[in-house]
C-alpha cells in the first residue's frame, strides 16, 4: 500500500557526488532512523523524500506513484529549527493546517467552522502535552515545547508520511527523553510512516523499527568527490517494534545514554564486595 520505494537514487552537487546507488524499501507504518556521519547526505536524502530536492538519477515512489515534484500535505515535516511560524500563537500554528485546507482563498476560517477547527487543534495540542499554552507565541516556549508544537502542527494535516530532520537534536537530554516517549505514542496511535534523520545512535535505536546507516565507502581527498555515500548498514531493531502495539514498559536491562544512573542499592563504590565480605 503506502510503501516508499527508492530505486538506484543518485544525487550530485556541483560535480560532487553526495549519494550514490541508494536502494531502499520502507514498509508502511515503519519508523526508519537514518544515521551517519555529518555530511554523509542523510539530510539530502530526507529533502528528496520531501520533494525539496530531486534525485539526479533513480526514482522514488510512494504507494506506487512517483513522488510529486513539490512538497505537499501527504508528507509532513518537523525540522530542527524554524518549523513553527513565529507570528502565530500556539493555537494559530495548529489551526493553520486546517484553515489552509478548508479556505483556499482567504486561508482563514470564521464563525462555527473556525470554532470546530480550534476544538480539533486543542485536542491535538492536548495530545502533545501543550494544553494551557494555546495563546502563547512560539518564542515564549522552550525548545522542547516548540518541537511538540511542530509535531502537533505537522500531524493536524494528517500526513501519511512524517519526515523528521534531527528534530530533537537541539534539546537537553531530559527533555529529549520526554519527547521520545511522546514520539513513540504518536507513532503508535496514528497511521504514520516515519523517516527520521538523527546523529544520535541511541535515539535511532530507541525510537526506530529500523536503523539505516549512510556512509561513504571511499572518502579520499584524491577522489575528487566522485564517491558518494550509500547505505552501508540496515538493522532491523530487535525485539521488533510493531506500530499500534506499544509494549508494556518493562525495566530496561541497560540504562540509555540519557537515563539517570541506575541505583545499585548501596552507596558503596564497589558493588562486587557486597555481601560476601570475608
Amino acid at each position: 500500500m503506502n510503501a516508499i520505494i527508492v530505486k538506484d537514487v543518485w544525487k550530485e552537487y556541483d560535480g560532487r557526488v553526495i549519494l550514490e546507488g541508494i536502494n531502499l524499501e520502507i514498509a508502511p507504518r515503519a519508523f526508519v532512523a537514518l544515521v551517519g556521519p555529518s555530511g554523509c547526505g542523510k539530510t539530502t536524502f530526507l529533502r528528496m523524500l520531501l520533494s525539496e530536492e530531486r534525485p539526479d538519477r533513480g526514482t522514488i515512489t510512494i504507494a506506487g506513484a512517483p513522488l510529486p515534484r513539490e512538497p505537499g500535505a501527504d508528507r509532513g515535516v518537523v525540522f530542527q529549527r524554524y518549523s513553527v511560524f513565529p507570528h502565530l500563537t500556539v493555537l494559530g500554528n495548529v489551526v493553520l493546517g486546517l484553515e489552509l485546507k478548508a479556505a483556499p482563498l482567504l486561508g482563514r476560517l470564521f464563525g462555527s467552522s473556525r470554532r470546530a477547527a480550534e476544538d480539533e487543534a486543542r485536542g491535538m495540542l492536548a495530545a502533545v502535552g501543550l494544553a494551557g499554552s494555546e495563546e502563547k507565541y512560539p518564542a515564549q516556549l522552550s525548545g522542547g515545547m516548540q518541537q511538540r508544537l511542530a509535531l502537533a502542527q505537522a500531524l493536524i494535516a494528517k500526513p501519511k508520511v512524517l519526515l523528521l530532520d534531527e528534530p530533537f537534536g537541539a534539546l537537553d537530554p531530559g527533555i529529549r527523553a520526554e519527547i521520545h516517549v511522546l514520539m513513540q505514542k504518536l507513532w503508535h496511535e496514528r497511521p504514520l510512516t516515519v523517516v527520521m534523520v538523527t546523529h544520535d545512535l541511541s535515539e535511532a535505536f530507541s525510537l526506530g523499527t529500523r536503523v539505516i546507516a549512510f556512509e561513504r565507502r571511499r572518502n579520499e581527498p584524491s577522489d575528487g568527490g566522485r564517491y558518494g555515500a550509500t547505505i552501508t548498514r540496515d538493522f532491523e531493531v530487535w525485539p521488533k517494534r510493531i506500530a499500534g502495539e506499544p509494549r508494556p514498559s518493562k525495566k530496561k536491562t541497560m540504562p540509555g545514554r540519557d537515563d539517570p544512573v541506575p541505583s545499585t542499592g548501596s552507596l558503596r563504590d564497589d558493588p562486587a564486595l557486597q555481601g560476601d565480605t570475608p
Partner: protein, 273 residues
C-alpha cells in the same frame, strides 16, 4: 572599571540625553545675544521673543491676506502629500517586494530592474515629472513615491528572502498554495519589517517633499520656508524647521509603537533569530 562597563543610572541617563539639546540652545542664545547687542535689527539669529512673535503670527493668527492660519494650512498640505505618497509607496513596496522576494520568476524578471531604478536620483527626475504631470499635487506625490518606493521594494524583497526556507516548505506540507503562503506566512511576517524600513524612509520622504514644494508650490511647509527666505525671515524658518522635525519624530515614534502593539510576537521572534 573599563569605560565599556560603566552604565549611567536611569536619572543620569535622562540628564545626559538632555545635555546636547541644552547646549545647542545655550550656544544659540549666546550667538544671538552677541549679534543682537551689535545690531538690534539683526535677522540672522533672532531672539526668542521674535520667535514667539513669529509663531504667534503663523500658528495662532489668521493671515490678513488669505484669512487662514498659515501653519495649519501648510501642515495640512504637506502631510496630505506625504501620507498619500507613503501609502502608495508602501503598497508598491509590499506587492513588488513580496513577489520579487518569493517568486523566482519575478525575481529573475524584476530584481535587477528595481535595483537599477533605485539608483536613479529622484530629484533628477523632478523636471520630467513637472513636464509630464504638471505642477499640481501629482508630480510632488510622484517624486516622493519614486524616491521611497524602490528602497521599500528592495528591503521587503530582502526581508522576504531572509525568511527561513523551512517555513515555506512547512507551509507546503500543510497544503498551502502560493497565494495562501503569501497571505498567511509571508505578508504577516513582512509587515513589522516593513515598518522598520518605513521608519528609515521618513527622512528621505520629507527631503523629497520639501524639495518639490520649494521648487513649485503654493502651499506647504517647504513652500513657506523657501518663500520667507526672500525676507531673511529666520524667525519663521527656524520654528518651521523645528515643527517639521517634530512631525517627523512623532511619525517615527508612532510607527515604533504601532509595531510593538500590532505585532507583539515580533520583538521576541527577532531576538531568537
Amino acid at each position: 572599571m573599563r569605560l565599556i562597563n560603566r552604565r549611567p543610572a536611569p536619572g543620569v541617563a535622562r540628564l545626559l540625553a538632555l545635555i546636547p539639546f541644552v547646549l545647542v540652545v545655550v550656544a544659540y542664545l549666546i550667538g544671538s545675544g552677541i549679534r543682537l547687542a551689535e545690531n538690534p535689527s539683526d535677522k540672522l539669529l533672532p531672539s526668542f521673543a521674535s520667535f514667539a512673535a513669529a509663531i504667534n503670527r503663523m500658528a495662532f493668527q489668521l493671515d490678513p491676506r488669505t484669512g487662514d492660519i498659515l501653519l495649519l494650512v501648510d501642515t495640512e498640505a504637506s502631510l496630505y502629500r506625504l501620507f498619500a505618497a507613503l501609502a502608495i509607496a508602501v503598497i508598491i513596496g509590499l506587492v513588488l517586494g513580496i513577489v520579487i522576494g518569493l517568486l523566482p520568476y519575478f525575481r529573475a524578471g524584476l530584481g535587477s530592474f528595481v535595483a537599477v531604478v533605485s539608483m536613479v536620483p529622484p530629484l533628477a527626475l523632478l523636471p520630467i515629472l513637472f513636464i509630464t504631470m504638471g505642477l499640481g499635487e501629482a508630480s510632488k506625490i510622484a517624486l516622493i513615491v519614486i524616491g521611497v518606493a524602490p528602497c521599500l521594494v528592495r528591503d521587503v524583497a530582502l526581508r522576504v528572502g531572509d525568511l527561513p526556507p523551512q517555513q515555506s516548505i512547512k507551509a507546503q506540507t500543510l497544503g498551502a498554495s502560493t497565494w495562501q503562503i503569501i497571505l498567511r506566512v509571508v505578508l504577516p511576517q513582512t509587515l513589522p519589517r516593513l515598518i522598520d524600513s518605513l521608519r528609515l524612509q521618513i527622512g528621505p520622504a520629507w527631503l523629497f517633499l520639501i524639495a518639490a514644494e520649494a521648487i513649485a508650490s503654493e502651499s506647504g511647509l517647504g513652500y513657506r520656508i523657501f518663500l520667507v527666505r526672500r525676507y531673511l525671515a529666520m524667525d519663521v524658518i527656524l520654528p518651521y524647521v523645528a515643527w517639521i522635525t517634530l512631525l517627523a519624530f512623532l511619525m517615527d515614534r508612532t510607527l515604533a509603537v504601532l509595531q510593538r502593539r500590532a505585532f507583539p510576537w515580533f520583538e521576541a521572534a527577532r531576538a531568537s533569530g
